[in-house]
Symmetry: C2
Subunit: 146 residues, 2 copies
């Protein structure tokens, strides 16, 4: 993934979003960190370099990106929203041991865009995720967790 500033600036302008310095920083962070970070994680990291960065700006920016389809929201835990630069429909896996959320490729007729409505209801967003124990954590526990 190319993460230079020019590319990021273009991405914002293509969606009609004015490319301010703060917005460039947030989008750049999301492109570099595809581990579905929280607003807090994004803020903590950017605030290191830009001490004047406000957390409100982080939220404003993320909500702006959401409205313009630049990012997607991942709501798995129920207590916090995680943000995803990957706007193609895909599934997620949340490990209850390490807490990591990883992308998952599964065959899904909805993600393929073949189905646009169900029982007369119009589908605009598709969300699918699994909870369990990831491969690494299973191996770490010497196959105890099965």
């Amino acid at each position: 993934m190319i993460t230079n500033m020019k590319h990021i600036k273009n991405k914002l302008e293509a969606k009609g979003v004015k490319p301010t310095y703060q917005r460039l920083c947030v989008l750049k962070y999301l492109e570099k960190n595809m581990n579905h970070p929280t607003a807090e994680m994004i803020y903590e990291n950017i605030a290191k370099k830009i001490p004047t960065m406000s957390k409100t700006t982080i939220y404003n920016t993320l909500n702006l990106f959401l409205e313009n389809g630049l990012i997607h929201a991942v709501t798995i835990t129920g207590t916090e929203v995680r943000y995803d630069i990957n706007t193609f429909s895909h599934h997620h896996f949340l490990c209850r041991k390490c807490g990591k959320i990883v992308d998952i490729e599964v065959k899904c007729p909805f993600c393929d865009g073949e189905i646009t409505q169900i029982n007369g209801s119009k589908i605009e967003e598709i969300h699918g995720y699994f909870k369990g124990i990831c491969k690494k954590c299973r191996e770490k526990n010497n196959k105890v967790e099965r």
Copy 2:
């Protein structure tokens, strides 16, 4: 669905949960109200009849039920948890107009229990939901929302 107290008491005891009056009330409410209520909604309703009911008890009870597999948590909005008495794997639809969450029946290989792991990760929970505009809201808007 039978929602008499004897049936509810049996359900709790079958899971090894002591059937206290508060727990019976919460489970009874969930059996009667299958519209994926929030903790707040459950509290508001029960508090009408039992003024001494504490919101902490609602949360304690719901978490206890979750641990014992009596109910499932539905996390769609990202800001609040909704609770579901239907513990069979199924999908949900959230309407962005009326805010209602309804059950959805879709063909899904994961819900059938055919697939128990993905890339070496063990699947324990399957969650699938859609966001969009429900049939009723589309009709209400005279087919404007397509």
